[in-house]
């Protein structure tokens, strides 16, 4: 298409008749191209507040659309549709339907933080991406991303025992993401570990896997952390207009 502006119009809004003659003038094909006007009627005026209520999204209101984030973004360099600047714009205007068109790529942020480094207004766009991905999950538009699942496995274990045990984290993570435990790279890594590690260290690791030791006196800390996490989760669900029942203190 020689006219680049055409690429900016969604295909469903471009119409042309293959065979059309009006008043004796043949306007078949692209001569009859008609662009359907785009009318946006559904705004979610709370969208900015919703994103701002999630960790990382607090400073979205500072954005003045300079595009530093998008220009610094390595994911954008590979996929021009990955555009943090544009999503911040949509969120601030409350254009939820528009945002949802990109729901399958928003979570692809690699958290390199280049955008946060270049942003002249300290919007922390990486945080906004995180908050937006989180929002998509809480609203049920996206299944939980692998990185969220990993965070959950990781923190659940810390909450339960006050410690982390890498072997168990990997096992649980694979289970939750439906991956087989026997993966070539993992087998290879364990083989090399077995051949290279001192016996004493291996025994300590083996015992830790079997008996799952806890940090001494962890109970009160665990209770406090869990209370705080529930409180925060309930707060976020409320801010998003979702049912805030679980652990809700009101």
């Amino acid at each position: 298409m020689p006219i680049h502006e055409k690429s900016l119009i969604r295909p469903e809004n471009l119409h042309s008749q293959e065979n059309l003659t009006i008043d004796g003038v043949d306007v078949s094909g692209h001569w009859s191209t008609f662009i359907e006007p785009r009318v946006v009627t559904d705004y979610n005026e709370n969208l900015e507040d919703e994103i701002a209520a999630l960790p990382g999204g607090e400073y979205i209101h500072r954005c003045w659309q300079c595009g530093s984030c998008t220009n610094a973004c390595p994911v954008n360099a590979i996929n021009p549709d990955f555009n943090p600047r544009f999503w911040i714009y949509l969120v601030r205007l409350g254009m939820e339907d528009e945002l949802l068109r990109d729901k399958d790529i928003i979570w692809q942020c690699v958290s390199c933080n280049k955008c946060t480094y270049v942003c002249p207004r300290d919007v922390a766009p990486e945080g906004v991406m995180k908050a937006t991905a989180h929002w998509l999950e809480l609203k049920g538009h996206r299944p939980k991303s692998p990185s969220i699942l990993f965070d959950e496995v990781f923190s659940e274990q810390v909450f339960a025992t006050g410690k982390i045990e890498e072997g168990r984290i990997i096992r649980d993570f694979f289970k939750r993401t439906g991956q087989p435990l026997m993966q070539d790279w993992l087998v290879e890594m364990v083989k090399r570990l077995l051949s290279g590690l001192p016996l004493k260290l291996m025994m300590t690791m083996g015992l830790a896997t079997l008996f799952r030791p806890r940090t001494r006196g962890w109970g009160p800390a665990r209770a406090a952390i869990e209370e705080y996490v529930h409180e925060k989760e309930a707060e976020q669900r409320r801010a998003l207009g979702l049912d805030g029942s679980a652990g809700d203190i009101e």
């Binding site: 680049h4 502006e5 900016l8 003045w64 659309q65 300079c66 595009g67 530093s68 998008t70 220009n71 610094a72 973004c73 954008n76 360099a77 021009p80 555009n83 600047r85 544009f86 280049k114 480094y117 270049v118 942003c119 002249p120 207004r121 300290d122």
Partner: protein, 349 residues
């Protein structure tokens, strides 16, 4: 005859204050750290000024001429103030050569310092020779050499001007708009197009702030008559393919990525507080405002007053300022200093 008024700094504001005071027969001690008067427009080699279009060396040069060798004005160049004590009407100023002078008030016209672009390393200044500042382009024009690429002296075919370099940027603690760079950049873009009609000029902006009467004369005119291209985008970094500078940006208005090779990239550098402001603040015992400029005691009631009675301020010492406003403020501060000597109440404190 009464004691002189100390005017510190011989730029537009200082020259204007000194001229105003001398005009009604007051003595003036005009001190400048440089070896000649004129301030930034002369020492940084500005080309044609906004909005008159006159060459800086003619316009500001004329201001220098009218205070040089004039009876009530004593000009002391290449010197600084070492100490300043006393009370309004009876201050003693000690210069770097230990000479002491009685003055009855002081006007600080100490101006600003250009932002140093090496503080924005991702935009290539100091890394690539063809990344320059607006000041350097001004010098290329005012020297008569013309706009050329410093690396090999060739005529650029494509020039990018990046706005807000050292302004409006929390990352580097410059939380102010430097006020003049948009208009200056529009002006330079037109100068470049006039000298090199085959050269394409792009301006990357966050907002265009050609306020007041500069809107049509600079912003519109550069677009309509000179076909300067404006891209609403802040670029992430300037790189090089070994021959040309590569500027990657997104045209945020149409949501399209654009990577353009450039021959010359120009940083529209902002105005920092004068690097000597902390020293000046301690010598003169005046307060600085939160960005580091000299604080004005009042916006409405006492023009040019500082936090210390008897000491006044004018021009870019108070924050980014245009040349014509600096000149107006110089006269206003002169008036305030005179009124104070006549016993008028001072609003400071």
């Amino acid at each position: 005859m009464s004691k002189p008024v100390l005017v510190l700094g011989g730029g537009p504001a200082g020259l204007s204050a000194a001229h105003a005071l001398a005009g009604i027969g007051r003595k003036v001690l005009l001190v400048d750290k440089e070896d000649r008067l004129g301030g930034a427009p002369i020492h940084s080699g500005y080309a044609k000024l906004v909005p008159s279009g006159e060459w800086a060396k003619d316009a500001i040069g004329a201001m220098v001429d009218r205070v040089t060798g004039r009876e009530p004005i004593e000009v002391r160049t290449s010197t600084t103030v070492k100490a300043f004590e006393g009370a309004p009407g009876a201050f003693t100023v000690t210069l770097a050569d230990d000479s002491r002078h009685e003055v009855d008030s002081a006007i600080l016209c100490t101006g600003f310092t250009h932002f140093d672009s090496v503080n924005k390393p991702e935009w290539g200044f100091g890394t690539f020779p063809d990344v320059v500042t607006t000041t350097q382009v001004e010098q290329m024009i005012s020297s008569g050499q013309g706009v050329r690429c410093p690396s090999d002296g060739r005529r650029p075919k494509r020039v990018a001007i990046l706005l807000c370099v050292g302004s409006r940027d929390r990352q580097i603690g410059r939380e102010w708009c430097s006020k003049v760079c948009c208009t200056v950049s529009c002006n330079l873009a037109m100068e470049i197009r006039e000298e090199l009609p085959d050269c394409h000029v792009y301006i990357y902006y966050m907002d265009i702030r050609t306020y007041g009467l500069h809107e049509d004369a600079y912003y519109w005119r550069s677009q309509e008559e000179f076909k300067v291209k404006y891209i609403k985008a802040r670029i992430a970094e300037v790189t090089s393919d070994g021959h040309k500078l590569i500027v990657k940006g997104e045209d945020t208005l149409v949501k399209r990525p654009i990577t353009i090779p450039f021959d010359l990239v120009v940083h529209a550098i902002g105005m920092d507080p004068n690097v000597d402001n902390l020293l000046l603040a301690s010598i003169f015992d005046v307060k600085l405002e939160k960005h580091g400029h000299i604080e004005r005691a009042s916006v409405y009631s006492a023009m040019g007053a500082t936090s210390r009675p008897g000491i006044f301020v004018a021009g870019a010492a108070t924050g980014p300022e245009t040349i014509d406003d600096s000149i107006a403020q110089g006269q206003a501060a002169a008036m305030a200093a005179l009124a104070q000597v006549q016993g008028a109440p001072v609003a400071a404190e």
